[in-house]
Amino acid sequence: MMTKQVRYEALVKALHGDLYRYAYWLCHEKQVAEDLVQETFLRAWRALDSLKDEKAAKSWLITILRRENARRFERKRFEMSEYEEATITDTKAISNEQNIENDWLREKIAQLPPEYSEPLVLQVLGGFSGDDIANMLNLNKNTVMTRLFRARNQLKDALAAEPKTKGVYNG
């Protein structure tokens, strides 16, 4: 029989990366994402006994995180800055072409409306099926599939119009 502590640590090790990325794509800020993940795991620790099926852990944690994120908006919210959120994504790692493309794609994903990007993140990163996502987001499956279709379609179109160089165009 595993102790609660061991179960918790296993859960953290296995899922903190996925959860952090999900949080990041939800709020587009590293610090906020980290805070969200911390809050989420703290809540998860308190309620760990209610998690019966370890396989459902990921969707359970994501549900907690979404609630936590919603709570963030219930509280008084300070505007962080006047910059477009999309422009403060990771811009440090510009070393090769792949990273440049990643960067560019990140901006595009960040510019997607949240109702499109959220299912996309859940599907691509989380590996959830349409049914799972529909459950988690309290939507019906057709809506989820439509949004996924639109999200990809927008990205595809954007990619087709992709500029080949990045940065400032000077002369």
Partner: protein, 240 residues
């Protein structure tokens, strides 16, 4: 499956080509253009996946475990604090109860207590003891009760302060006819009821109420307590 349906299905879930959706697979085999489209979208998905895979802070995992450890530690501390408070309350209650039992008097009247006191110390005093206490040292002790004896009442065997139901009092033992006669000088108080006369099988006693103190005389049945009473009343002088 027409082109639009196919595109919708692929765009909604590129992985659906890997499942055994017969209709979709058939469409893929039929039309190379569809196959190419599926491949393109799969490539796009791969790119999206890489883009979404932002780096996770290295120490996030440790931070999470640390916060949980701290949080559960605090909960434990709160619990021990509650336990400590409970233990303290029980200890205080126990202390109060002990105090109550210890210092509340088991006797309700002066007489009862005086008799019990005499019986308790009976063995210390012998009627034929050669010990004598002088009038001067007696009066020195009496000064604490603002009293004074004009002359010796008899052969005084013992005179000292003692606790009379928790009160400081003067315990005098005189030589009597057959057994010692005990005289207590006790400050006035409300705790014990004043009883003028009291007795049991062997001893009897009388109390005299003065302004500042009660004087209790206890002797055996051969003793004439009235005589003692008169002697004391006429001999004692209160200073204020």
């Amino acid at each position: 499956m027409d082109d639009l349906q196919f595109r919708r299905a692929i765009l909604a879930d590129p992985k659906s080509t890997e499942t055994d959706n017969a209709e979709l697979l058939a469409a893929l085999l039929e039309d190379p253009a569809k196959k190419q489209f599926a491949q393109e979208i799969n490539l796009l998905d791969e790119k999206i996946k890489q883009a979404l895979n932002i780096p996770v802070p290295d120490n996030l995992c440790d931070k999470l475990i640390l916060r949980q450890t701290l949080a559960s530690h605090q909960v434990q501390k709160r619990k021990t604090r509650v336990h400590l408070a409970l233990a303290a309350s029980v200890a205080i209650l126990g202390g109060l109860l002990f105090n109550f039992m210890q210092f509340s008097s088991a006797y309700t009247s002066l007489g009862d207590y005086a008799l019990a006191h005499v019986y308790h110390e009976e063995t210390y005093f012998a009627n034929n003891s050669k010990d004598r206490v002088t009038l001067t040292s007696l009066n020195q002790k009496m000064a604490a009760f603002d009293g004074n004896f004009n002359e010796s009442l008899g052969k005084l065997l013992f005179a000292d302060y003692c606790r009379f139901d928790g009160m400081k009092s003067l315990h005098l033992v005189f030589q009597g006819k057959t057994s010692p006669v005990t005289v207590f000088v006790v400050p006035k108080n409300d705790q014990l009821n004043f009883t003028a006369k009291f007795d049991d099988n062997n001893l009897y006693g009388e109390s005299l109420g003065f302004k500042h103190a009660n004087v209790i005389i206890v002797g055996d049945k051969n003793e004439s307590l009235e005589q003692w009473q008169q002697n004391i009343s006429s001999n004692i002088a209160w200073t204020i």
